[in-house]
Assembly symmetry: C2
Homo-oligomer: 275 residues x 2
Amino acid sequence: MSLTGPALLHITGTTRLYLVVGDPIRQIRSTELFNRLAAEGGHDAVFVPLQLPSEQLKAAVPVLRSCPNLAGIIATIPHKPALLNLVDQASEQARLVGAVNAIRRDSDGRWIGEIFDGEGYLNGLLDCGVEPAGKSALVVGTGGAGCAVAVSLARRGVNRLCLVDTDDDKVESLVRRLRSAFPSLDIRRGSSDPSGFDIVTNATPLGMRATDPLPLDADKLTAGQVVADMIMAPPVTPLLSQARATCCTVVEGHKALLGQAMAISRFFGMEPARS
Amino acid sequence: MSLTGPALLHITGTTRLYLVVGDPIRQIRSTELFNRLAAEGGHDAVFVPLQLPSEQLKAAVPVLRSCPNLAGIIATIPHKPALLNLVDQASEQARLVGAVNAIRRDSDGRWIGEIFDGEGYLNGLLDCGVEPAGKSALVVGTGGAGCAVAVSLARRGVNRLCLVDTDDDKVESLVRRLRSAFPSLDIRRGSSDPSGFDIVTNATPLGMRATDPLPLDADKLTAGQVVADMIMAPPVTPLLSQARATCCTVVEGHKALLGQAMAISRFFGMEPARS
């Protein structure tokens, strides 16, 4: 299935509404994918972006909760952490990451939160033939994306996990939370030197702009390492370009999209039609 | 153009969002028409129903105002009167009717309200070859629909306008407002006897259910009178059925839909592609 393109939609008073809330939102394209998954699966649902400023989130939640046809929310930047505290129930994984990116309204009206960023990333690895279980992994960046990646790698069973961030507090806090949740796993702070890691992941924004410095010492990459980037656009970042030239296995950020969208659709109770 | 059916929609972060707010909303089909008008006109816009309980309207307005991609609102029952007082500017017509059914966000962020129920009704008459100017008219029911019909008939230049309602206060209030706005027009309370009127309009809900009594003395209709019904479903109400049997000109409620939708689309800055 292609990730973009229009969907043939019947939008009426019976349609379940899913809002994709963020600020800014102009970059959002995932609604096309969600709408096509819904339409092709025969579901009476529509996904629509809503640009909601952060300072309005708290006021928006009771209003949105009162709307019976609002069946769910997909949260993007900057609302993922704040929404964790505004749902009625969140998974252990979401609490560990400290964020939700999908909220479902259950039949009793309760809001159930989950985070799928890590699952999307894992699907991207697996699609490229990479199984993280038993491997060593370096994650650069411990913001929202980095937390989700680190938690998913820990859950999947890597044998060594190193985390890097220029923000001492953020990386120390994540190391602490992960050690508490995965006491038998070797988790520590790392450096920007990727030497010796099976899987190296960039979870910083560095690489979105052509003028960005590289997020890690790409000169120290060696053939056979796996290098993943969480950046969606450009699809091939300077890091991935150099990794490919070094004969690393490269996992582009957009590889996460389809798998994550299908997982979120299932979370919303929509079984996707596989094409 | 058919009034229902799916539309091929690209919904992304640049799409202008129009919410159709009401409670209940399950009966809403107009979003299909608006979405097709937008898609066929090449506009990056989507119309989506939102079921918003009345008690949340006041809390919802500041939240919705803060969302830059929310380009407008179409109000349905029960929000039309309350929204009149929540917009920054409303037309003289909307203030006279006491309601808005469309709100546009202008480039400076102000909310501009307008009422199109009367324009839809007038388009329906004109489409059936009926010109109200210079005619006499009886309007039964002075709720939201009846007010809009009465105001549109007065503005169009009927020479005599009679209003009927079982609620004395409502009908007296509308008569007073119309007399003040149209001092040269003969406006008074009427009865449910349609004798002698060129145009007879049902603006009550009577006729939606098969067991409803007729809204007026249909036995007194005579050939050549125009009988219009504001009820959309069923398309042919018992009143219209009896009027047709009496060789009256019949104007079905749904005749208002396409004209009103095109007028609202233009109000939203979308020039519809005429097919």
